[in-house]
């Protein structure tokens, strides 16, 4: 049986959470604390959780660390400030698909480019959950949202490709169904010095699943199981098998590049730091 040692990472007096029954956010949040638990040297005192605004971003309030619930889309700049001010701290960002790629899109790509040592976990439910189901830049083509009642014609972002192209030094994806894998992807991202990005696909039965007739939460997770393809297998899959529903999960990119925080340390030395 799994021990529940991870429970100490939650603020018990803030639970139960406000997420809907069957929401995938709790799974992703638990995966984050399990990854932290595995990380040597990461404690509740030296790890900071920063989030934006959205259902997903409410996670910070449940987690027993120093936590920062910022403004919509702005988590990455705040996290950058924390890490640059005190590089000893481990800084984790929780964001939503709208938070990260719409209103926060510019901060996201510049965060990737700058390569400050942050671990950013995007809870992708393909919708604006908190505000009741409007289309996000990651709503798939043809899917319905309150602001796309006839189906979305906005071409969606692939946040992983975006992160890689913008310069993130660790890029991975997993889902709320593949829990162990998700924990591993997050943990490996935390290991990687630099801007690490992990897309966690999560189900939003209330604002996305229902409207798109995907069914109850378990069905949404079964959909993840049936359509996620591990990166190795995906690379070997013939193009005609890569249907619109299917998507790859796993590690997409990893590089070792000097982080911004350590580069800045060099600048301080060049300037002849005295203090």
């Amino acid at each position: 049986m799994e021990t529940r040692s991870y429970e100490k990472y939650f603020r018990q007096n803030r639970l139960p959470h406000l997420w809907c029954p069957g929401c995938g956010n709790g799974i992703a949040m638990k995966a984050i604390v399990q990854a932290i638990e595995h990380k040597e040297g990461w404690t509740q005192d030296n790890t900071i959780i920063v989030s934006g605004i959205g259902c997903s971003s409410r996670a910070s309030g449940y987690m027993d660390f120093d936590t920062l619930h910022t403004a919509h889309g702005r988590a990455i700049p705040f996290a950058t400030g924390i890490k640059m001010a005190n590089p000893e701290l481990n800084v984790v960002v929780i964001t939503g698909d709208g938070d990260c790629t719409a209103i926060g899109g510019n901060h996201f790509i510049h965060g990737c480019r700058r390569n400050v040592d942050l671990t950013v976990i995007l809870f992708n439910n393909n919708i604006y959950g908190m505000t009741g189901g409007q289309a996000s830049p990651m709503t798939p083509l043809g899917k319905k949202a309150t602001t796309a009642p006839y189906g979305s014609i906005d071409r969606p972002f692939d946040a992983c490709k975006l992160a890689e192209a913008a310069g993130a030094t660790y890029v991975a994806r997993s889902t709320a169904f593949h829990v162990q894998h998700l924990v591993k992807m997050i943990e490996d991202g935390m290991d990687c010095k630099g801007f690490s990005f992990i897309e966690a696909m999560v189900q939003c039965p209330t604002a996305y699943g229902r409207r798109n007739k995907i069914g109850e939460p378990a069905k949404m997770m079964a959909w993840m199981r049936d359509n996620a393809v591990m990166k190795n297998a995906w690379d070997k899959l013939p193009d005609d098998k890569k249907t619109a529903e299917k998507f790859p999960i796993g590690l997409f990119y990893k590089a070792e590049t000097e982080t911004y925080d350590s580069a800045y340390h060099r600048i301080q030395e060049m300037a002849g730091v005295t203090a």
Binding site: I48, L68, P77, G81, I82, N86, N106, Q268, V273
Partner: protein, 380 residues
């Protein structure tokens, strides 16, 4: 220390370093850019951090994060950049994160006249972000005062845990003067507030101290603080109750209102026999002072009143002034903003007239003098 030729913006950067600012996030914009450039040079030398962000929203975000991690922080901008910063100025106000925002005012709205002086952001400084909130804004008229008020801004931000606007204008920002800076031991520094009790003793990050300001622990010190822009109670966690909402908004105002007499600074000259007064601030006050001297040379009993503190507004001082003199002239480099506040505070006790200019050039002393003469004629 020997005198040194220095620009207003440069004095802000020097003042920031002297005040203990160790983190600057910014985005270039005329006429504030020299501050960022100076900070890029100076900060790494003292172990601090300069970071150029992708825009002014991010510049605000990055300094607020750094402030929570324990650094004293400052950012600088102008016009369109200050508009972008408003979202997170409100966040700083709501979450009580110390931060200084320097606004070197230029002509707006929008891109306006990027290199030309204006004082058109008086009301934005107070009400630029949405919702009820508290703020402090102070405005220097000389290079030396730009240095001093930068230090004061940092100290106020730390003491009241409130965003402080250093309301500069292009005149002072680009002014060059010989200044002698104070020695390090002459500078008073307000340290970062710290928790007075431990978690075990029931520490609550947003519990107000006697001065109504909370002693919020820095991140990384083991207090497990939660910070949110949602209305929160003393624990820092959001609460959807009318009482908490009311208490929280009231406390944020009261912490500044209580200290208002101390915060509000006004320079008054030639007031003993004054029958009229010119009220001005920032770069315009320099011209107004000249105009008052000229008026006095002509035998007019005119006094000079310079608002150093813009917000909170000097209600009491202006009310007293209005009872003493027969007419007040407000000189400001905009279509008319501060004048409304002066009229409100004067409350009909004397005539209040506006001397305005918004053509991208600065006042000439003769223009203000002519307005003084008109005011005198109107009253007599």
């Amino acid at each position: 220390m020997s005198a040194r030729l220095m620009q207003g913006n440069e004095a802000v950067a020097e003042g920031a370093i002297a005040a203990g600012v160790r983190f600057f996030g910014g985005y270039p914009i005329t006429p504030s850019t020299e501050i960022a450039e100076m900070m890029a040079k100076l900060l790494p030398k003292v172990g601090g951090t300069f970071i150029q962000m992708e825009d002014e929203i991010a510049s605000m975000g990055v300094i607020l994060g750094a402030s929570l991690a324990g650094k004293k922080v400052l950012t600088a901008s102008s016009g369109p950049g200050i508009s972008l910063k408003q979202e997170l100025i409100g966040y700083a106000s709501a979450t009580e994160i110390p931060a200084v925002i320097v606004n070197v005012q230029r002509v707006g709205p929008s891109t306006g006249q990027p290199t030309a002086p204006s004082q058109g952001d008086v009301m934005q400084a107070r009400w630029g972000t949405h919702g009820d909130h508290s703020i402090i804004a102070i405005s220097p008229w000389s290079v030396r005062e730009a240095f001093d008020l930068t230090i004061k801004s940092v100290n106020y931000a730390e003491r009241f845990r409130v965003p402080v606007i250093l309301l500069m204008d292009e005149i002072v920002g680009h002014l060059r003067e010989n200044v002698e800076l104070p020695a390090e031991n002459e500078i008073e520094i307000y340290p970062r507030r710290a928790p007075k009790i431990s978690r075990a003793e029931g520490y609550e990050p947003y519990a107000p101290d006697e001065d109504l300001v909370p002693n919020i622990a820095n991140f990384g010190e083991g207090y497990h603080v939660h910070v949110t822009g949602l209305i929160h109670d003393e624990t820092g966690f959001p609460v959807g109750s009318p009482k908490v909402t009311e208490d929280s908004i009231r406390r944020m105002h009261e912490k500044i209102e209580r200290a208002a007499d101390e915060i509000i600074e006004v320079q008054q000259e030639f007031m003993d026999d004054a029958e009229f007064a010119v009220v001005a601030f920032g770069g315009t006050a320099r011209t107004a002072y000249e105009a008052v001297l000229n008026a006095r040379a002509k035998g007019l009993k005119v006094g000079f009143v310079r608002l150093i503190t813009i917000w909170p507004f000097a209600d009491k001082i202006i009310a007293q002034l209005a009872k003493k003199v027969r007419g007040i002239l407000v000189a400001e480099l905009n279509y008319g903003q501060l004048v409304g506040e002066v009229q409100r505070a004067a409350n009909g006790a004397c005539l209040v007239k506006l001397c305005r200019k918004y053509d991208m050039t600065i006042f000439e002393p003769e223009e203000i003098l002519a307005s003084i003469e008109n005011l005198v004629a109107e009253v007599k």
